[in-house]
């Protein structure tokens, strides 16, 4: 152990003699390790950002939607089915909350023109039960959410998403003001907090009303467009999906899954798909960066070969003084590992700083993964061994007498 430490100290001394050469050899490893860490960190960061966004829509979420419906042999339009009714949601709530299901939220949503004074906007109007806010993790910016009483009384109240609130009321506080949806006039009782979503189903650009109000007074329909179900945990998602499926088949008096007039999508399906895509992307980027690491490793090998040639006489002398093959191999391997390890440590800091800056600029989640650090230390040392072994063996196999004569 003592000997190893001394060899390391001596190798360090030797490497500092030629600072320029040592520095350039290390630079190759710094760039290699640095870029691998940066790209993996950015890949994982964007994966985390996307997953967070999906998670923010609610966790352990299952969505039941009507699927195409056949009536008398004519296939209906996708999503346009009317097979789901409130009784389905009630049945799930009654029968499955004992086992796998936590909360059930029946919903009726449709796009509609919403008018407030001289402003108007086309948004999703969603009829809901109060538990919707818990399942979809909606919090209030101002006012209150739809209550159980509002649903029971078919109250003419509405809660606005922050984007909708600005579209309709601009700077004015919308609480207490009225909006018109179709022929109905509703009083605004709350504005939700922004969730930072975007796109077609942006939770910030919606109007929430009691389900009864939406069904009976605004749209005049009896069916549901979806039922959101929160499972008790991530582990029971699949089981919950199965149980809901069979319960609904039973409710709709259908024979088997092939006849189902509904589909159940879990959030984990979506998450898996996204994770797979971003995971592949991360691996691809990491692979490209690994090529630069390989080039760095070849640089180390090159330097070590030059070193061995330059120090042929020294190797001959060491052998004449009693150094065994093993001793010589150890000495040169330690030199190359020291080069790559130093490169690995600097490369790690370089990579962590670079990925921090880029993720700040690109507004991604900054992920420091333990694997990155293990990679920097492990892979760089491994490169030292792989690319140092050949030069070290070459040194150890020199014949002492020829090495001593070498000019």
């Amino acid at each position: 152990m003592q000997d190893l430490l001394e060899t390391i100290i001596e190798s360090f001394r030797i490497l500092t003699h030629n600072k320029m050469r040592t520095g350039l050899a290390i630079l190759g490893i710094i760039i290699g390790i640095g870029s691998v860490i940066t790209l993996i960190s950015l890949g994982q960061g964007s994966q985390k950002s996307i997953e967070d966004q999906i998670q923010s829509l609610g966790s352990n979420l299952l969505t039941v939607s009507p699927s195409r419906q056949s009536s008398g042999g004519i296939m209906g339009q996708f999503g346009g089915g009317t097979s789901l009714v409130l009784a389905d949601a009630k049945a799930i709530e009654e029968k499955l909350t004992k086992t796998t299901v936590n909360k059930v939220s029946p919903e009726y949503s449709s796009r509609s023109q919403v008018i407030a004074g001289r402003n108007n906007t086309n948004v999703s109007v969603v009829g809901i039960y109060p538990q919707y806010s818990e399942i979809k993790k909606i919090t209030m910016e101002k006012g209150v959410f739809i209550s159980k009483q509002d649903v029971n009384l078919m109250a003419k109240v509405a809660v606005l998403g922050p984007t909708t609130a600005v579209d309709l009321f601009e700077e004015i506080n919308p609480i207490g003001k009225t909006i018109k949806i179709g022929t109905q006039t509703l009083r605004v009782i709350g504005v939700t907090k922004s969730k930072g979503g975007s796109g077609f189903n942006n939770p910030d650009d919606m109007v929430y009303v009691p389900l009864t109000t939406a069904q009976k007074q605004i749209f005049g329909k009896n069916n549901l467009t979806s039922i959101s179900v929160e499972a008790k945990s991530k582990e029971v998602m699949v089981q919950a999906q199965d149980e809901i499926g069979y319960l609904l088949l039973d409710q709709h008096k259908l024979n088997g899954p092939a006849d189902a007039d509904f589909i159940i999508m879990s959030q984990s399906d979506l998450l898996n798909t996204v994770s797979q895509v971003t995971g592949t992307l991360t691996a691809l980027l990491g692979g490209i960066a690994a090529i630069s690491l390989l080039v760095g490793g070849i640089g180390i090998m090159n330097i070590m070969l030059v070193t061995v040639t330059e120090r042929t006489r020294e190797i001959g002398l060491r052998k004449a003084l009693g150094a065994k093959k093993k001793t010589i191999i150890t000495q040169f391997l330690i030199e190359s590992i020291l080069l790559t390890f130093t490169g690995g440590v600097f490369g790690m800091f370089f990579g962590l700083v670079t990925s921090f800056l880029i993720s700040k600029i690109m507004n991604l989640t900054y992920v420091i993964s333990f694997s990155s650090i293990a990679l920097a230390i492990g892979v760089s040392s491994l490169i030292g061994i792989i690319f140092g072994l050949y030069p070290a063996r070459k040194a150890a196999n020199l014949q002492p007498i020829e090495a001593l004569r070498y000019e």
Binding site: D3, E6, A320, L321, G322, A323, K324
Partner: protein, 224 residues
């Protein structure tokens, strides 16, 4: 102590065979101071390399301390070089940019001797060759004579059976060469066995026995 019988070394380059040594036999007893003399190309360096376990003969036998050196593997040969032979080279062969004491300690670290003992022994020997005040000088800052004295300290550090000196004064000014030879004579008086290779009559005259080699054969083996 050393018994060499019918030693031959033949170098083969392509089809051409060069005979460096042919049927060389002699014995050297403990405590002798032997000079091996001969013109360049006589085969004296080849003989020295074989005696130093740096090279193996093509034919013949070499027994050192009752042990045949020819049947050993590479690691065993390394141990022989480390423990039984002290080399002194014409060009000193010290590690550059390394302090004198580290140079002297090097063979001991290959033998796995603990650091305190190494420092102590190296210091003692450097004082003996008159370099007690140069312990932490880089070896390339010393004069030729001083460097050779460091090399002698290094050769003695494992207390070897024989000291092998290859033209030890070849690169040194004559005044300093006399100092080096004085050290050899003192070492011999203390009981060290010394084999020295040289082509200079003056230097060979310091030895008690001179073996003359010419064309790979012993020409004359005389007491001095």
């Amino acid at each position: 102590m050393i018994k060499v019988s019918k030693l031959s070394k033949i170098y083969k380059v392509g089809e051409v065979e060069t005979i460096a040594l042919s049927d060389v036999s002699f014995k050297i007893k403990k405590g002798e101071f032997v000079a091996i003399m001969g013109p360049s190309g006589s085969g004296k360096s080849t003989l020295m390399h074989i005696l130093g376990a740096l090279d193996l003969p093509t034919k013949g036998n070499y027994i050192l301390d009752g042990e045949s050196v020819l049947n050993l593997n590479e690691d065993q040969l390394a141990d022989i070089r480390n423990q039984k032979i002290g080399f002194i080279f014409q060009s000193y062969n010290l590690l550059p940019r390394t302090t004198t004491i580290q140079n002297v300690m090097l063979p001991m670290s290959y033998a796995g001797i603990p650091k305190e003992k190494r420092l102590e022994t190296a210091k003692k020997l450097l004082e003996m060759v008159g370099l007690g005040n140069r312990l932490n000088h880089a070896s390339n800052q010393l004069s030729g004579g001083q460097q050779q004295r460091v090399a002698i300290a290094r050769a003695l550090v494992m207390n070897p059976s024989i000291l092998l000196a290859d033209e030890p004064t070849g690169n040194i000014a004559s005044v300093q060469a006399d100092e080096i030879m004085k050290i050899f004579e003192d070492l011999n008086k203390q009981g060290h066995t010394i084999i020295m290779i040289t082509h200079e009559k003056d230097i060979a005259n310091h030895a008690k026995r001179i073996i003359h080699i010419k064309d790979g054969k012993i020409e004359k083996d005389e007491k001095n």
